[in-house]
């Protein structure tokens, strides 16, 4: 027996090591600590490993950042004055835009209140520097230099100014956290296609691409359409940009469904700084409220200035009828038809002139409307007047008086009652 173990020492050790790790893998599948994604002992191992690595990562990152920062600052100062002026002008313009949007937002809030839908605003964010990665292309996680000391907690959304990036997976120390990027296979985010309003779940695939899965085929989904966070996952802020539709293709693994490949708004492969959303509130944060108030005051000033200018400048007064009603160009009579028939405007009797049970009144072609100006009168040829055909049994002859009136009398400028001018009938 002893010789067996001595003889097969190496293979036995290999089997034992592999078996131990398989058991370790199996034990991690379901057992997790509340508020964490790992089991207690596994979390401890991750803490040790990251505790060993992160000081070096922070140090290297600090050195590199320091060099880049001082270098870029030296050159950046040369154009600061010009940039500052441009930015000030842009701030003024954006404030005006914001004032207009604030009104829409208020209306939206009122409607949301009616629907009891709660809007969440970004209340607090913490800027964090990326200090490391997982090092493999099968696990898309990042490490940042902010942790429990900065109020970071698991599942907090991580964004950049371009769009969503991921969420906090694990807080590994006072100054270290692990982020799970949205292009990882295990991540998921509720998204909404902006134009078509189709909802879906965004996740990463093996290639590190973003895709929306389990979407029913829809011709309206076109490349280039914007995708925003739907807020349905209770993690990412609603309406925040996610990306654009890159390609729509058939999903071979889920037959009737399609795959929507997405180009992320944020460059997930080159993240340097990110914002971790540490607080969301249902009221506007102080800064945003102050900004909106400033914008509104500015817009009010602009509005008053525009009104003063409008009073001082000569204006074209609208045409007014003798009764005092303004004549809107939209309410003018349409031009007279060249060849009036029973489908022309005014050829059919009004509904209130009809009587229930009565025979269907015979439609007449619209009478020729006299041209308003002599020039128009000259250029518009009068339509040929058809001679009425002899009456039949089904179609009695029209009353003579109105017919004579139509033919003999020149048509009035105003549209006469079509009922009074029956059309000549055509036998079929």
């Amino acid at each position: 027996m002893e010789s067996f173990f001595v003889r097969y020492r190496n293979p036995l050790l290999l089997v034992a090591l592999v078996l131990l790790q398989v058991i370790l893998l199996a034990s991690q599948i379901r057992r997790t600590v509340p508020g964490s994604n790992d089991g207690g002992k596994v979390r401890l191992v991750r803490l040790w490993v990251e505790g060993t690595e992160s000081p070096f990562e922070s140090m290297f990152h600090g050195i590199g950042h320091g060099i880049r920062y001082s270098w870029s600052n030296y050159f950046a100062l040369r154009g600061v004055k010009k940039d500052n002026d441009q930015l000030k002008a842009e701030v003024e313009r954006l404030r005006l835009e914001q004032a207009a949007l604030a009104e829409d937002a208020r209306q939206g809030n009122r409607l949301q209140a009616l629907l009891d839908f709660k809007q969440h605003y970004l209340a607090n964010t913490v800027a964090a520097q990326v200090i490391g990665t997982s090092g493999t292309d099968t696990s898309r996680v990042l490490y940042v230099d902010k942790g429990s000391h900065d109020g970071i907690k698991p599942d907090m959304p991580v964004i950049t100014r371009d769009g969503i990036v991921g969420k906090v997976r694990e807080v590994l120390g006072p100054h270290t956290s692990q982020l799970l990027l949205i292009n990882d296979q295990t991540s998921g985010a509720g998204v909404l296609l902006e134009k078509t309003r189709i909802r879906g779940v965004l996740r990463g695939n093996t290639y590190g691409q973003l895709e929306i899965v389990n979407v029913m085929p829809d011709d309206r989904i076109q490349p280039g359409e914007s995708i925003i966070a739907s807020g349905g996952d209770q993690i990412f802020p609603r309406g925040f940009p996610v990306g654009k539709v890159e390609k729509v293709q058939h999903d071979p693994t889920h037959d009737p469904y399609i795959q929507v490949l997405v180009t992320p708004s944020a460059d997930l492969s080159r993240l340097e700084e990110v914002l971790i959303v540490t607080g969301q509130s249902q009221t506007r944060p102080g800064d945003l409220a102050a900004d909106i108030a400033t914008s509104e005051a500015l817009a009010e000033q602009q509005k008053k200035a525009a009104e003063v200018m409008a009073e001082r400048l000569p204006t074209v007064k609208p045409e007014v009828t003798p009764t005092g009603e303004a004549l809107s160009p939209a309410l003018k009579q349409p031009p007279p038809p060249l060849h009036p028939d029973r489908f022309s405007t005014g050829a059919t009797p009004p509904a209130n002139a009809m009587q229930p049970g009565a025979a269907t009144p015979v439609a007449a072609p619209a009478p020729k409307v006299k041209a308003e100006t002599p020039a128009e009168d000259a250029t518009t040829a009068p339509p040929p007047v058809k001679k009425p055909k002899p009456p039949t049994e089904d179609q009695p002859a029209p009353a003579k008086k109105p017919a004579a009136k139509t033919e003999d009398q020149p048509p009035a400028a105003t549209t006469p009652s079509p009922a009074a001018t029956p059309a000549p009938q055509e036998t079929q």
Binding site: R9, N10, L13, L14, L17, V18, Q21, V22, L24, L25, A26, Q28, I29, N37, V42, V45, R46, W48, V49, E50, T52, E53, F56, E57, F60, H61, G64, V130, I131, G132, T133, S134, G135, T136, D137, T138, S139, V141, L142, Y143, R169, Q178, L180, D184, Q185, T186, N205, T206, Y207, T253, S269, R270
Partner: protein
């Protein structure tokens, strides 16, 4: 150019490295592997810890050492990812063991043989990784032929300078 050659099996087996090198080199490889993709995202296709594991397993010619080193390096790598601990551990344990076992039968001091072994074992590592993900963890993962063919070649390319560097620390007892 001075080359190392061994006339007896005993001489070949007993080549060792300073303890500091044997500890620091794998840790440094893991650190560089975790840090560099932040600056060069494409660097994530490489597997520096695997290259270092293969080097020491081939050089020490001890299956036990190769398996233990592979397990340690793999679990350390797993701790930096969001994958369960043991995914890389299982792969690198087997690959480390295989490398050391092969080195007992072949002359792995030859640079060409070593590089060929790196290509083959790197590919085996990728296959094992896929197997663990698919059948042990039930995580769907596509097999990317282009990527998996390129990875061993790139690992071999990076192994050339690393092997040359580590050869400088060899000790003959």
């Amino acid at each position: 150019m001075a080359t190392l050659s061994y006339t007896t099996r005993r001489q070949a087996v007993e080549q060792t490295f300073p303890l500091a090198v044997m500890v620091i080199a794998p840790l440094l490889a893991i650190f560089i592997q975790a840090y560099l993709p932040k600056i060069f995202p494409k660097f994530a296709i490489l597997d520096l810890p695997l290259v270092v594991t293969l080097y020491f397993a081939l050089a020490r010619r001890s299956p036990v050492y190769g398996a233990i080193l592979g397990a340690s390096v793999g679990i350390w790598q797993d701790a930096l990812t969001n994958l369960p601990l043991g995914v890389n551990g299982v792969c690198k344990t087997i690959v480390g063991y295989m490398a050391a076992s092969v080195s007992m039968r072949l002359d792995v001091d030859n640079q060409g043989t070593r590089l060929l072994l790196v290509i083959i074992l790197s590919f085996i590592n990728s296959v094992l990784h896929l197997c663990v993900m698919r059948w042990l963890l039930n995580v769907h993962q596509d097999w990317r032929w282009g990527m998996e063919a390129l990875r061993p070649l790139l690992n071999t390319a990076i192994a050339l300078p690393i092997f040359a560097l580590l050869d400088m620390f060899r000790q003959r007892s």
